[in-house]
Subunit: 341 residues, 3 copies
């Protein structure tokens, strides 16, 4: 990072190889970017306003390092863009394009931090738009005896209908020594000015606990309503006779995650299992297993090797994506490097 | 701003709430960006070439802070992009995408600096493209006894026709103590290789005068020819029986502006009235009234509250936009913050 | 450039006038950007990992300075984007969007460095995509007794077909005092998942030799197979009765270049001749002649004047483009400035 006066410039460059098989069209080896973490470039700053108040802003590009394209479907500052004011006692209020609490809770429960083909988003894909909300206001409280609270509001901006397209969320976090707990709820209206689809309602309890020599990760989520859990690749990658419907295979479902990371000096071994329990008649459950290894070349640079496997049941169609891509198959091996600057 | 060696990085992050009513589809409250000033990130620099000469460049993004999208319809450096050479006696010559003098004169006459729902562009929208010219050469003279002159030229770049699509402008400025005067003319050919529409011809006289405790703003403009004054929102937002024709309701028209700003320590009160006098048979006049309040949290950060009202006559269809958006209605309230870095 | 800690920011702003004639629709004078060098803004950095190893990244925008648009057809970091690891003995391995060796060899043999209307790409346009490869891995050896080697690989990323769309290249370079030699081969599969077009195969030998008071440039290239040499402007700019077929007029062809640059203090005179020898039945040869003058205002800033002429034979349709644009005619004059920062 380049920090001085009012602006800090920072980023991540991540690229490598991803082998994916299971697709109806055959296997593929990609030279791709943003496997372990989405490649990015950001500009941020804080200004001391006195009296315990600060003004703050953040602008963050996503970059497809393999092609140079903008990430997030071409949105320029598609990762994050916001401005706000913080008070050391009262908390922080920010406006812009921001992460939903539900997504941040899910990331905190994933030993792979929502990256590589072990990405929790492959199954726990509750908040669409990469976990982000446009037109949003976020409030984050200060931390009090380990507790903190968060509120999300994103306007639908539909003339004459204040509720259509609106998102609302809340989060509660508790940290105490080695324990970190997060509870998050998210309610997103799928309505538009003309179509009434109803709301997606997601709840997630996420935990991680650090003990020698490992860190344990647990999560349990409940998803209700249309588009409450969406497929990352909805193009029928496995050539199923009954193609998945748009981006929503399931309406109601639950998610469970168990993960572990074991740091050994510069080496870290990681593993996770995620189970998607489809509560609908089709019972399209899925299980994702992943095993990873990371070697830290420095505090800023690492290399990684990950193997992941997705088991789809009863015509489910989940794929192994990564931090930047929805993926094309049900077996994947990643080999790459990540460099933070 | 982060300034060192040959590059300065700077910008503005602006966001807040905008309530808009009057639209045929009903009212809307937006969480939006760039209300008071368009959010932006810029890179600029100067190089001393010796002998009173400098080389200079500027590259400036526009950013929709509410969605992270690029402003100016997706143009990457859509605000400004240019390179040039300056001589301390002879003036400055620059090439690129640049503001027309007519637009800069209008900004200088608006107490709201062409921002918030009081934006002068809502009625004085003479130079299309946000006041910018692609493929342009600008010359700015040095200041001599308070006088300075500016010339604009933007190539149409139509093969075999040097005049089609071309813009030409000129400006004269005079500053003397508390008085600042600007006269600007702009002539833009609406012709293409195949269609002859004729030219838009705009003239504006802008003035501001600082006296204790206020600053007074005055402007008078004359617009002639097709597209010489365009609607910011041409989608028939008020559901008129006779929808506005494309982006040009009026051909010939005049504009008059009276404004005032009153700084009181960290507080500033602002007000403006703009009258559009349609000289065509339909006589679609309009009046815009605006009242604003700004509180400076620091030299770089302020919060603002603005109320504006647009009165359309005889089927006119002007809307209350802001620095970044064309707007959707004829009543608006803005509440937001702006942070410069 | 702004360099500190882990990030260096750098760039070029280039703009001016380009007069082009010969087009069926008539002549045009453009106020355009990136004539001598593509305008750009870049972010790069290196991290010392110890033991002679470094991590490195580079992200480089292309910018159309005349319109503010992103270059390279709208790709955000369309010039270059990569991350990698270097070892002082073993060489450098990088992943991302990168230049092919064949293109870099051609640039090294052009006194105009692939810029202005004298651009070698007007005829030696072997590697499509501006000489760049997406999804690529590059290996560059360390230099040993003046010799160095390079390997290119770009994945086609077609499911079930590892060879479709793939590029492979190799380069060998030798420098010894005033002499620099480069040999490069490039093989690009034009196949897709469904269409079998075959491969473009390009070989180039490039040399430059510095002697008082001049520098001599020579190149010879052999192009075989479909799309092995493509037109920069395939819209039939000369109104030929038989319009050029898509982007490939020629299949097999050879290229020869002779150039010279003569620096005289702050002044430099440049000249080049390029001959395209079409080996197909239509025998659509072409010759490009160019003469240029550059004046260095400083080490970072220059002004330039270039005249170029393209002679097309037997219905050939090559145009005089520049560093950023394919061009529209067969006579061109450029007058502009370039500022590096």
């Amino acid at each position: 990072a380049l920090a001085q006066s009012s602006i800090t410039i920072y980023g991540i460059a991540d690229a490598g190889l991803s082998f994916e098989s299971g697709n109806k069209a055959g296997a593929v080896t990609k030279v791709t970017g943003g496997i372990e973490s989405g490649s990015r470039l950001g500009f941020k700053g804080v200004e001391d306003l006195g009296g315990g108040n600060t003004a703050l802003f953040l602008l963050e590009h996503g970059i497809q390092l393999d092609t140079g394209n903008s990430g997030q479907g071409g949105v320029l500052y598609g990762r994050q863009a916001y401005v706000g004011i913080a008070n050391q006692d009262l908390g922080t209020l920010t406006f812009g394009r921001q992460y939903a609490n539900h997504y941040l809770a899910a990331v905190s429960a994933d030993p792979f931090s929502s990256g590589t083909s072990a990405d929790e988003k492959n199954l726990i894909n509750a908040v669409s738009n990469g976990g982000r909300m446009d037109n949003s206001i976020k409030y984050a409280s200060a931390v009090f005896k380990g507790f903190s609270a968060n509120l999300d509001y994103a306007a639908g901006e539909v003339n004459g209908d204040a509720s259509a397209g609106r998102s609302m969320g809340a989060g509660l976090a508790y940290t105490n020594g080695p324990l970190a707990l997060r509870l998050a709820v998210h309610n997103k209206s799928n309505d538009t000015a003309t179509i009434r689809l109803g709301s997606a309602r997601n709840t997630l309890l996420a935990a991680n606990y650090t003990f020698k020599p490992a860190k344990l990760y647990l999560a349990y989520g409940v998803n209700k309503g249309p588009l409450s859990s969406t497929l990352r690749n909805a193009t029928n990658p496995y050539g199923l006779a009954v193609a998945p419907v748009a981006t929503a295979v399931t309406q109601d479902s639950t998610d469970a995650l168990v993960g572990v990371s074991v740091p050994l000096g510069l080496h870290t071994v990681l593993a996770s299992w995620i189970h998607k329990d489809d509560k609908e008649a089709a019972n399209q459950d899925a299980d994702q297993f992943a095993l990873g290894y990371r070697y830290n070349l420095s505090r800023r640079t690492d290399v990684y090797l990950v193997y992941a496997r997705m088991l789809n049941k009863n015509g489910a169609s989940y794929t192994l994506g990564n931090a930047s891509d929805g993926g094309s198959g049900n077996r994947a091996v990643n080999l790459g490097m990540r460099h933070a600057f």
